[in-house]
């Protein structure tokens, strides 16, 4: 019952109430892993509402904040990180020379919400760093984002670097960002372009064999 309430409070972005309830549940001896489960379920709902055009950036940001608050509360109670099965791995980042992160963060949030393990390299990420992370975690999917036309060349360089490292055939590469389209995806040598965050999730799902 309380679990359901918690899911609702998070999905309705009631920060104070959600955090209070988590405290209450922990005090009453609820298994912290259960709380993690409810929270993940709530994030999935938030992601779904975003995809359906019901929620937007403010809700994603607020849900992220609430999750942060809940993890803080759980930290003392948790002995180990819960092992959750994942659909696949995605390495994601904004390419070198570009510091814009909003679009990339939305995609990362939705991928997480949809069960992917996401390795977010942040912004202004050099090609080398993409290559290193890819060889380290062996993702199925690489996502590159940019907001500036100047970053097209950086995307191209990054794809080339992945090729040179002999990793190109091991990953699918998707690109996105305001000035990006099919033409740019072809130009930089990516496999596909995602017009919005939802398309990015669908591409990742397709490539990881988890079609809807």
């Amino acid at each position: 019952m309380k679990g359901e309430t918690l899911v609702n409070l998070i999905t309705e972005l009631k920060e104070k109430e959600a955090l209070n309830l988590v405290k209450e549940m922990l005090d009453a001896g609820t298994d912290p892993l259960k709380v993690v489960e409810y929270s993940r379920a709530a994030v999935e709902v938030v992601g779904k509402r975003f995809e359906e055009g019901q929620y937007f950036l403010p809700e994603l940001i607020m849900a992220g904040e609430i999750m942060k608050g809940i993890s803080e509360l759980l930290k003392p109670a948790m002995r180990q990180e819960a092992e959750v099965p994942r659909i696949g791995k995605v390495v994601i980042g904004t390419v070198e020379g570009d510091v814009h992160d909003i679009g990339k963060n939305i995609v990362a949030f939705l991928l997480e919400a949809n069960g992917f393990q996401v390795y977010d390299l942040g912004v202004d990420v050099p090609a080398r760093q993409f290559v290193d992370k890819i060889s380290e975690v062996k993702p199925q999917v690489v996502g590159m984002s940019c907001l500036l036309t100047v970053a097209f060349e950086a995307m191209k360089r990054t794809v080339e670097a992945i090729k040179e490292a002999g990793l190109r055939d091991a990953v699918k590469i998707m690109v996105g960002g305001s000035p990006v389209n099919e033409q740019i995806a072809a130009y930089v040598g990516a496999d596909a372009y995602g017009g919005d965050a939802q398309e990015a999730v669908e591409l990742a799902r397709k490539w990881c064999g988890g079609g809807k």
Binding site: P58, M62, Q183
Partner: protein, 429 residues
């Protein structure tokens, strides 16, 4: 509305420009008349072309962004070459690249630019962060300018850290208060900040003189820079360089009343900022880049509650004084068209990026001039033929009956010159 008409009439009279040739004069007059016509939703003699250039002229002329930011003579050379070679009707002046030297002197911390953290060949970028805390809304609302001077400037300009110790200027009310007020100005932190102000002022003055004479000379050659000044939507003021996207979006949930109060509080200031350039130059456009109200950034109801009311007040405040808000709706604005329709007829220009232009024309066509939409990606990676086709389709579907300016959908930095040329030439035929 009548005031805007007055502004445009006066602008079309074209006074104080000594043209280099009869041809240049004809060209200039034709352009301003066409722009005045499209703003007022009439069919122009020629569809004006406005490649919304950022650093494009620099790349085109073979200079790096760093060179044009740090050497305004090079900026002048680049812009002049671009205008003479490609002949756009309207252009964005070299003010857009700013002065690297001024930025260095004041130590602007919240941007990176070539020469300060970025390679020479790149444009500048804003580093978003929470520069103002949610707890500071009360301070900001009590006295925005005081907040700017004593709290904000010391945070975002290394050279102005000393301003944090300034007393409130408002206390200079009575003789006994005057003496004590100035004590701190003699102390090293404030003194060095003031020295930086003077140094920045000297450099900016040289730069400003260049901008003034350059603009005059280009006008004499027949090229029109229609921009008088700039302002911002109040939501973007707080959401960009004060609270940041994350901050302001949390405020929408955590302290919506305080956010709304702050938005209202700064609106009259943003009107005055936009009007300052307009009153000084008589040119029509007040450039307003729109950021956080685009499709996907917030819901319709959030747009109506948080973004639009104060943007509308800004638009009305400018229009009432005769300025023409030139709104650059970066990203998509498809879901906002019905809302933004609520403005006086024939007084604004909306530069659209990814917005569906056919629908924009349907919804806004009888109230506002629409502009832009030629994709930056196409100008960067496409062919001249593709650009021409795109522009022709655009003109046929939304441009041929007026109320339309052809141009890039977003700021034009790197692009193939032959593509930009193709866009400019389409509207000539």
């Amino acid at each position: 509305m009548d005031k805007v008409k007055e502004t445009l009439q006066k602008w079309c009279e074209v006074q104080g420009i000594e043209f280099s040739s009869a041809e240049a004069e004809e060209r200039y007059k034709k352009t301003v008349q066409s722009v005045a016509d499209v703003i007022q939703l009439k069919t122009p003699a020629k569809i004006p072309v406005y490649p919304f250039n950022g650093f494009f002229p620099a790349y085109y002329a073979g200079f790096t962004p760093k060179e044009v930011m740090y050497d305004f003579d090079k900026a002048g050379l680049a812009w002049e070459k671009y205008l003479r070679d490609l002949q756009p009707d309207l252009y964005v002046g070299p003010f857009i690249v700013s002065s690297g030297k001024v930025l260095d002197i004041v130590g602007y911390k919240i941007y990176k630019w070539p020469g300060n953290g970025l390679p020479d060949h790149q444009s500048y970028q804003y580093i978003e962060a929470e520069y103002v805390k949610a707890e500071e809304y009360d301070d900001l609302c009590t006295d925005p300018t005081d907040f700017m001077l004593r709290k904000y400037l010391p945070r975002v300009f290394t050279s102005f850290e000393g301003f944090a110790s300034l007393p409130r200027l408002f206390e200079l009310l009575e003789l006994p208060l005057v003496g004590p007020h100035f004590i701190v100005y003699g102390a090293p932190p404030v003194k060095s900040a003031l020295e930086a102000v003077i140094k920045a002022g000297e450099e900016a003055l040289r730069w400003g003189e260049f901008l003034g004479s350059f603009g005059m000379r280009m006008a004499s050659l027949g090229f029109v820079d229609p921009t008088a000044g700039m302002s911002k939507a109040p939501f973007d003021v707080l959401g960009d360089t004060f609270r940041g996207t994350r901050g302001i979006m949390m405020d929408m949930f955590r302290c919506p009343e305080r956010l709304l109060e702050a938005l209202e509080r700064i609106t009259p200031i943003m009107i005055q900022i936009g009007l300052a350039g307009f009153k000084a130059t008589g040119k029509p456009f007040v450039f307003i880049p729109l950021h956080k109200g685009a499709d996907g950034f917030m819901s319709d109801s959030q747009f109506k509650e948080f973004y639009w009311p104060t943007l509308k007040k800004l638009i009305l405040g400018l229009v009432e004084e005769g300025a023409v808000p030139f709104l650059f709706a970066e990203g998509g604005y498809n879901s906002r068209l019905e809302v933004i329709r609520d403005i006086p007829k024939g007084t604004t220009v909306w530069l659209f990026d990814e917005t569906d232009m056919v629908r924009a024309k349907e919804v806004l066509g009888d109230v506002a001039c629409i502009a832009g939409n030629v994709p930056i990606s196409l100008l960067y990676a496409g062919t001249p033929e593709e650009v021409k086709d795109y522009c022709k389709k655009l003109i046929n579907s939304v441009g041929k009956d007026g109320g339309f300016i052809l141009g890039s959908g977003a700021v034009l930095d790197e692009a193939k010159p032959e593509n930009v040329k193709a866009m400019i030439e389409v509207a000539k035929s």
